[in-house]
């Protein structure tokens, strides 16, 4: 997993950097100077990382950063990851379709009820409380402009 993620990331960066340099080559020098000056070393470093991931031995280098929990079996972790991402994408779809004011309580209620397996009343009350917070702080106090969704 460790190495596959590195390979995927480095491969994607290599492709992006290659495209960035290619696209910049047709621009005036003022616009192209920085992207080319950065794109070429990034392409080379990404290519080196791809080669290292493909032929190198087990990856022992660690970043000065947090690591995903290793206590959960890999298939369970992957299933929960996919589920979480699906919830977030679903929330975004709900925002686009019905707008923030309706999507917020609906998402909180459904998440608690279906994913958290909380009771009906608790889920409803919690959803309503989050909506109230959202309405008072972001709408009434800060006046953030939330557009209507595509449906209503």
């Amino acid at each position: 997993m460790h190495n596959k993620a590195s390979l995927a990331l480095a491969g994607a960066i290599m492709v992006c950097a290659g495209f960035a340099v290619y696209a910049a080559s047709s621009w005036p020098w003022k616009a192209a100077l920085f992207p080319i000056a950065i794109g070429i070393p990034v392409f080379c470093l990404a290519a080196a990382e791809v080669i290292w991931s493909l032929v190198g031995s087990g990856d022992s280098e660690r970043a000065m950063d947090f690591e995903m929990s290793a206590d959960v079996p890999a298939p369970v972790a992957m299933r929960r990851t996919v589920l979480t991402v699906a919830w977030m994408v679903g929330f975004f779809a709900a925002i686009a379709l019905i707008g923030f004011p309706y999507a917020v309580p609906l998402f909180v209620f459904l998440y608690l009820r279906l994913q958290g397996r909380e009771g009906w009343i608790f889920s409803l009350l919690f959803g309503a409380a989050v909506w109230l917070f959202f309405y008072l702080v972001f709408d009434r106090l800060l006046h953030l402009p939330f557009p209507a969704g595509w449906i209503f």
Partner: protein
Amino acid sequence: MIEAFFEGLLLVLQWKAFAFMLLGIVLGFWVGLLPGLGGTTTLALMLPFIYAMQPIEGFAFLLGMHAVVATTGDITSVLFGVPDEGTTAATILDGHAMAKKGEAGRALGAVLASSLVGALVGAIALALAVPVVRPLVLSFGSPELFMIAIVGLAFIASLSASGARGMMRGFLVGGLGLMVATIGQDPQAGVARYTFDVLYLWNGIDLVPVLIGIFAIPEIIDLAVRGTSIAGELPKGSLNKGAFEGVKDTFRHFWLTIRCSLIGTFIGIMPGLGGAVSQWMAYGHAAQSARTDEERRGFGQGDVRGVLGPGAANNSKEGGALIPTVAFGVPGSSSMAILLGGFFVLGLAPGPDMLTKHLTVTFSMVWTIVLANVITVVACFLLLNHLARLTTVRGQLLIPVIVVLIFIGAYTGNNHYGDIIVMLVFGAVGWLMVVGGWPRAPFVLGLVLGKIAENYLYISVARYETAWLTRPIVLVLIALAIAVILYPLIQSRRSRMKEAARHA
């Protein structure tokens, strides 16, 4: 001058100014806790309210609010791993790691105490530097500012991972950050770069959704995967200890805190570099303070020094950023640009007058920063145990609330759905980075520095051609960048040799 110094204090302590400062603190406190809504947005929202105020009251209100946003923003970073804005992201790496180990109280104690030390250093610097800062700022032209950006990037890229491959990845993601920063309309020729005919991309990628995506989404996924609270399964009562330990940590590593405060102040003074740069540079310096490779590997896993450095720099930069704003009318950051607007609203002209005719107003700003930070830190300490207990709330309850907050936080970048897409895309990138063991810090710094570095590089080349490389300060900064890159390699080699000698 001494007289003006104390007169400034008395002016802030007048009941009306003090009441406005308290109001600002309360607003800043709560807005700081909301992801995505940082000090800049709050200042912009509150600027119209100062029209009817006197200068001292107006600045007490605005600065009181602005001074505490950074402190409470760090609290969200520590507790939930969700950055408030660019200026509080570096605290996540070790602060949230500590929260996950059940040391939220200690991390909060450390971040609050170091914030207070940082704010005091920044305020003292503002008070002392006003007469001497002019030659310093004027000696730094575009070439020097470009090199500071490069040193900052080299600093964090070389220190954010161990070994040659780790360093290579550091530079790779740093470069990626610089590349992402080139998206949008180019400032020199007006070319739409990598916009694919999408209007949203013409203004470039906003920092807030990227930061939220890259830091918060992997944390949310990890919380969902673990299926526990943030602090995991901990014995009852273990969270309440440690806040005082965090304060003691600040004094245990006092010189580190002071050095990071000075880094914050210095970066704050430099126009355009901003708070995010100062926090990451302070984090890099804190990591550099590790004596061995083993010790350095502890950074990102919950080393308290990784909290102290960014915490101190985050608050000290405010005093620093006020120096060019007050003395020359040159704002060091976007929030200072808004504050500059406040000067005009209140009928004051920044510049030499602020150091002569309106010196008491300038000193009242120093006192506002000091008092606002002291009041906030004391208030936070009273609430600390309750705040730390949030890390024991079941993940299933926290996740929907955090998801709602990060979506709204990202959306506030440009009030556009594109911000949410950017957050999700960079959430995926951040997750891959964490899973692959790549450092995220250099990417953020690259993104923050991209536009600044490009502008300064272009001006340097256009104005001096290649001669800018031979300017004395540039040469010193080039040497510093090389030293910063070589230092961890030499240190690592020394550790290996020592290890080999011990086994022999």
